[in-house]
Amino acid sequence: MTPTLRRRVFLAAAVVAAALLLWGLTGLPPFGVYEGPYGDVLNQVAVAERKATNVVASVTFDYRGVDTLGEEFILFAAVIGVAILLRARRDEREEPPDEDAADRRAPGTSNAVRVLGLALVGPVVLFGVYVVTHGHLTPGGGFQGGVVLATGALLVYLSGEYVTLRRVSPEVLLDSAESVGAAGYVLVGLLGVAAGATFLANVLPLGQPGALLSAGTIPLINLAVGLEVAGGFILLLSEFLEQTLVIRRPGEVT
């Protein structure tokens, strides 16, 4: 199929799809008018029931906890998938990291980037830890904080070299962070079973809303997810960097 023909077929289909979408969307309640009962019910009862002031966190890690466990393992599987897809192929060999490899045409890092990057590593990591640990109180949580923590590693790479990134985040540390995080979620879920309730039941003392130690299992799950997401995203980052820095194709000058 030629590109022109494909574009025409798509445009014809898009007109039909747009009409269907319009038909469906005009049937929704007008924007700004909320009709469903669940959100209102949760906003009324969730803080009293779970003592977490962030109701989104109560939904994610408690009421919908099993779904989020699945979501965490989607991430886990995807990181493993990327690691497998990007492993050295039979005709490739791995060499020590080389920032000046022949196939790498990246411009040199300026001193401004190095200084600013280094200065930001500390605040970014602190902010990431804050977002993970306060997920049940304020906007944030393990997923968001974990990604912030991973950007700390990206800053190390930007302001140093790949070997510096490897030194501050050795692969065994990342692998264990990812696995301990994934397993931690399941273990917190089993706490509920051990206490005679259901899997992922919030069986720990709930405390007072607004306190750092409150909301039972929710902050624990946030910690597990934060570990997993930070480890997983730094692994993803290293896998892609290795493609130009470590893996050499056959016949390539190094």
Partner: protein
């Protein structure tokens, strides 16, 4: 105004799909997929929005304050995480496709297999 956010969602979906269909570069196609997927964030958050509602976080405001639906907020979070993992996997496939074919243009994949 009562339809605008829904129309934005529909537009993002269609314009993202158009990008995928006409793409001549896999990285561009993967970015277009992210654009198409971001329409679901807009749609989810729009159906849960209540005029005058605040974020469903009751640390500084008392329970009972009008707030938006927390369920769609949680669903959007899941959506974003799944979107990120799909992009990561597809980008890894694009790296390997480039090694195999020496190009990221899907139009030029077929001819090089012969």
């Amino acid at each position: 105004m009562r339809l605008l956010p829904y129309l934005v969602a529909a537009w993002l979906l269609l314009v993202g799909l158009y990008g995928i269909v006409t793409s001549r570069n896999l990285v561009h196609a993967i970015t277009c997929l992210s654009v198409a997927q971001s329409s679901t964030y807009i749609l989810l958050l729009s159906v849960g929005f209540e005029r005058g509602g605040t974020a469903p976080i009751f640390l500084d405001v008392p329970v009972g304050t009008r707030a938006v639906d927390p369920v769609v907020g949680a669903l959007t979070l899941t959506d974003i995480v799944v979107g990120a993992t799909v992009s990561a996997l597809l980008l890894a496939l694009a790296v390997q496709a480039h090694k195999h074919h020496g190009t990221l243009d899907p139009e030029r994949f077929r001819s090089e297999q012969d």
